[in-house]
Assembly symmetry: C2
Homo-oligomer: 120 residues x 2
């Protein structure tokens, strides 16, 4: 079941912005494969723990990962729902494109056909 929550502009901004960094995308990839503590993630990149911790915070703010305490560690887990919501956003653009092509096709076909659904 897909929840189809309407995302605000700001939320969409955050999701795409979070994905616009190679380190963060790699963190998402790793934590989709399996949970990882922040420090184990930090060990994988040539930057400070604090920098990685910030990246994780950005991803968490976008909902792309969740973090839950486990002893003194915080385990980071990729959130497939957020990925799906981002996919739906891109699907919407594809749909716009296909609709446009559909309209052009209809235009080139018999002129009697009523104009297909058209929105602003």
């Amino acid at each position: 079941m897909v929840v189809d929550t309407e995302l605000s502009d700001v939320e969409v901004d955050r999701i795409f912005r979070a994905l616009a960094d190679a380190t963060r995308r790699d963190i998402v990839r790793r934590t989709l494969v399996e949970e990882a503590s922040v420090s184990s993630l930090a060990a994988a990149y040539e930057m400070s723990f604090a920098a990685v911790s910030k990246h994780v915070a950005v991803l968490e703010g976008a909902g792309l990962v969740t973090k839950h305490p486990h002893g003194r560690e915080r385990l980071v887990r990729g959130n497939p729902d957020a990925i799906r919501r981002a996919q739906e956003l891109l699907d919407a653009y594809e749909r716009i494109w296909r609709d446009r092509i559909g309209r052009l096709d209809a235009l080139l076909a018999e002129p009697e056909t009523p104009a297909p659904h058209l929105t602003d």
Copy 2:
């Protein structure tokens, strides 16, 4: 036919970064529906022409729109190929997730049985 061009990290960065702004997403949407001159786009937003022109430049740099001269205007056209490439990127993350679930399933089932089909 899909060309499956391998995108560099920097290119992926640019695509997601370009999508991380509501005005730019709206420009993509509009220009997927139909071509528009930069000034006609600028008329739609409460910011200067120069600002909109910059947004278009960012989208062009990410390959999300193309621009071609038409008299004194530059017509902006949304590029569905770039959208599709972005979709493929997100698909890759979904696939990682599904693979993980598949592996867990295989682990829980009797080791002889092949992993059952699993959907969300």
